[in-house]
């Protein structure tokens, strides 16, 4: 996650705002740290098109 290199396609955005990439990398790392983690192998992801587990 935080060690993902800058995608070449974002060089123009980087040139526009040199701080953006590092701020974004740090923000992504903070968000991922908010996941509980420790998922067991059989803990499946929620279907992305699902409300309340009822569909």
């Amino acid at each position: 996650m935080s060690d993902i290199p800058l995608p070449p396609a974002l060089e123009a955005a980087h040139a526009l705002d040199p701080e953006l990439i590092e701020k974004s990398r740090a923000h992504a790392a903070r968000l991922v740290a908010g996941l509980e983690g420790g998922y067991k192998p059989d803990e499946e992801p929620a279907h992305i098109y699902q409300a309340g587990g009822s569909q």
């Binding site: 974002l10 123009a12 955005a13 974004s24 992504a28 968000l31 509980e36």
Partner: protein, 466 residues
């Protein structure tokens, strides 16, 4: 009636008058167009007003009603659409330089449904760029303002819809909500905003922000008006992969049922422990819960996962999906985005595939906890925003307070959640609560919201915009 009184007429009252032929859709639409011309230069809530088409629709509605062909409660009622909702032949810009000349060929399903219900489309409303970011001054159009104090922001991203409805420029508007964007402007502007269950309202023809979190919702000044609007736009749609094949409930038949005997959980942890709220907001929430208790509800404290963790899960999913949508434009035209939008999408470049899957696995855990909790309660009451709306030009304060909210959990959970006004801060800015329930239980939310509204006067207040 004066233009001001017509502007603040509820859908319920306007509909009665239209059905009784005491009011013409033409007179109502003309009054609102005059109000938009007079008031909106202070608010910038509309990006585009289509007066000619609105008047043509109003005349057609008048002719149909006069001829005994009234289609229902929304026939002849004007509305506005957030400018990420496609309108055939009419510019849909997402409030962005990137799509400033975009003219869709087909109406979004929600636009088609309002048209089919006989509504009169007034125009397209301002939004945060692509329904993300924040109030921005580096876009082709200015940001919408809050009618309670035009120096303050109106919330977002459905900022123009919230501002226009609160200012009596339209009795109803469509907003969209991926991390709270119907409920935030509803909270900031003192109106009612419903994010219905995921899949309840078709997303077809609405520019996506995050496929698995996007919701479309009604914004109105009263609870019953909101129920009427949801009734018109809810339902299965083959154009939307996520559309739920679940029967649509009658949202108004039980709306006057009151709260006597209902079990209501008060999720004060969100605004007392996780993100301590502004004292006016905290006091307003306690007072609102006291009103429901005095109406006979059985109120019990409940707890749930920490807001910060819920928000992080929402954001990993939202930003990953948003980055997937925007990365080609971010590569080729980064200068055409507002700085605030770039700032919020770019972290998506730094999530790994496993991070995204982990967030979806985390969502499964939260869904299980939420569904278990909701076995014991009819609805949950919690905060929406932790703070009243701040000044629109105070960028650090906007950044600080935008994240201090309790709306993202219910995008993640797909659960219906409604923001409703509960009073005003000492500075005169609206305060709000959320009413939340289990999937597809919107009728219960409306029943509780209406019970509160019936014994309070918050939805009848008018902002100082003339």
């Amino acid at each position: 009636m004066s233009d001001v009184d017509l502007g603040y007429l509820s859908i319920v009252d306007a509909s009665k008058k239209l059905a009784a032929k005491e009011l013409s859709p033409v007179d109502l639409t003309e009054a609102l167009l005059r109000r938009i011309e007079a008031v909106d230069p202070q608010l910038d809530s509309f990006l585009l007003v289509d007066g000619d088409k609105a008047m043509a629709s109003a005349k057609a509605a008048e002719s149909a009603i006069q001829g005994g062909r009234r289609m229902g409660p929304l026939h002849g009622i004007p509305y506005a659409l957030k400018d990420i909702v496609d309108t055939a032949g009419l510019r849909t810009t997402c409030h962005s330089e990137i799509l400033k000349d975009n003219v869709p060929k087909q109406d979004a399903t929600v636009a088609a449904k309002l048209k089919a219900a006989g509504g009169i489309m007034l125009g397209k409303t301002a939004t945060h760029e692509f329904a993300l970011g924040g109030p921005a001054f580096d876009l082709p159009w200015p940001p919408a303002r809050n009618p309670w104090n035009r120096d303050h922001h109106p919330g977002g991203s459905s900022s123009g819809s919230g501002s226009a409805v609160a200012a009596g420029l339209a009795p109803m508007a469509i907003g969209t909500d991926t991390g709270g964007s119907v409920r935030n402007p509803a909270s900031c502007c003192g109106i009612v905003g419903m994010k219905a269950t995921y899949g309840r309202v078709s997303r077809a023809g609405v520019f996506p922000l995050s496929f698995s979190l996007d919701h479309i919702g009604p914004m109105t000044r009263t609870v019953t008006d909101n129920a009427l609007m949801l009734q018109a736009i809810a339902g299965a749609d083959k154009r939307d992969t996520a559309s739920a094949n679940v029967a649509v409930t009658d949202y108004t038949s039980g709306i006057e049922g009151g709260v006597n005997g209902l079990k209501i959980g008060y999720l004060r942890q969100f605004h007392e422990v996780d993100l301590p709220a502004h004292p006016d907001m905290a006091a307003g929430l306690d007072a609102a819960v006291d009103v429901l208790r005095s109406e006979g509800a059985d109120i019990q404290d409940v707890g749930f996962a920490p807001l910060a963790d819920l928000a992080a899960t929402n954001r990993v999913i939202l930003i990953s999906e948003a980055y997937s949508i925007h990365r080609d434009w971010l590569a080729s035209r980064p200068q055409d985005y507002a700085k605030a939008t770039r700032d919020r999408i770019m972290p998506g470049a730094f999530f790994g595939a496993a991070d995204y899957v982990d967030a979806l696995r985390q969502k499964t855990r939260y869904l299980a906890r939420f569904n278990k909790m909701m076995e014991d309660y009819d609805v949950i009451i919690c905060a929406s925003s932790m703070d009243p709306a701040c000044r629109i030009d105070d960028e650090p304060e906007v950044d600080r307070t935008y994240g201090r909210q309790a709306r993202t959990p219910f995008n993640l959970l797909g659960a219906p959640a409604m923001a409703q006004p509960i009073g005003f801060s000492k500075d005169g800015m609206p305060l709000s609560m959320q009413i939340v329930s289990r999937a597809f239980n919107e009728a219960m939310i409306y029943r509780v919201g209406r019970a509160f509204e019936r014994v309070t006067d918050w939805t009848n207040q008018r902002p100082p915009v003339g």
